[in-house]
């Protein structure tokens, strides 16, 4: 496991806010030379800590007004049904996240839709028809906040 110092942590925090900052700009901010900053970023990439970058789109501006989290319980278990369920659920474009979990449910899904009627369509036609699907619980997302996580700790 890679050990981080304070500067590594600050670099990670800065890049998780804005991944387009150059090594030069980050170096000036944290009192490092451009090559030293670049070497640190390279090391974090090679250790698998930095794993690419992701574009953040404004989903409301693109007409996606509703995000719903679903807790799904499978009706039948066993290896085959897990594989079938996972293959089918990951192919649904409106499903952004599929997590296999332990607890009250077997899977957590994050689903985006244009509005509630659109969500109902996805739920009825695509989710409820998945192989092996049992109980489904829906919670509509009202607000969401991403925190930097344990980097600063």
């Amino acid at each position: 496991m890679i050990a981080l110092d304070d500067i590594d942590r600050r670099l990670l925090r800065a890049l998780s806010e804005d991944a387009r900052q150059t090594a030069g700009a980050l170096g000036r901010r944290f009192g490092l030379s451009q090559p030293a900053t670049w070497r640190r970023i390279k090391r974090l990439e090679e250790a698998g800590v930095l794993r690419g970058r992701r574009v953040r789109l404004n989903k409301e501006a693109l007409g996606f007004g509703v995000t719903v989290f679903l807790g799904v319980k499978l009706a039948t278990k066993g290896r085959v049904s897990l594989d079938d369920f996972e293959r089918a659920v990951t192919a649904i474009p409106e499903v952004q996240l599929v997590q296999h979990v332990l607890g009250l449910y077997d899977y957590r899904l994050r689903v985006v839709a244009r509005d509630l009627p659109d969500f109902e369509r996805v739920l009825r036609r695509r989710i409820m028809t998945l192989p092996g699907v049992g109980d489904v619980e829906a919670n509509v997302l009202l607000s969401e906040e991403r925190r930097p996580g344990p980097l600063g700790a």
Partner: protein, 153 residues
């Protein structure tokens, strides 16, 4: 809502699908020149459709093996239950997501921990001390089957 044409849509789809593509890669995959792609990306950013780019941090590579989704029901007889709970949750560095819902669950916290002993320490010493909790359910992450956060454009 922002109106996209087909070329914008192709470009955004490619942008969501590829984590580290350069503008010329994106342009080629979307069937346009690099100059056109740059102009369109700039326009989408000015229009607020593209909000930014964030580095993805892999907490596993930093020794955080445990990820738990805590689904919290609050005691709504307290008038400021949501605000007080969320403000206190922000002080726990191991929490990297705070979401509020309409449904059976009021708030969801995503908790990262190094191992089960560390999780237990966070849970007992920090989480259970948060104000206005009526009930907590935990879902422990086994695997991310799909984690694209892509919008179906």
């Amino acid at each position: 809502m922002h109106d996209l044409d087909d070329a914008d849509r192709r470009l955004l789809r490619q942008l969501q699908a590829s984590e580290d593509a350069t503008v010329s890669d994106l342009a080629e995959r979307s069937g346009m020149s690099a100059g056109t792609a740059t102009r369109r990306l700039d326009r989408l950013e000015r229009a607020g459709v593209i909000e930014g780019y964030q580095a993805r941090i892999n907490y596993r590579a930093l020794g955080y093996e445990i990820e738990v989704s805590l689904r919290v029901t609050l005691d709504k007889t307290a008038t400021n239950a949501f605000d007080a709970f969320i403000a206190a949750a922000r002080d726990i560095p191991e929490i990297d997501e705070i979401q509020t819902f309409l449904g059976r669950v009021d708030v969801r916290l995503n908790v990262l921990a190094r191992d089960m002993a560390h999780y237990q320490e966070i849970y007992r010493a920090r989480i259970l001390n948060l104000p206005h909790i009526a009930d907590i359910e935990a879902l422990m992450l086994v695997a991310n089957v799909k984690n694209s956060e892509s919008l179906p454009l």
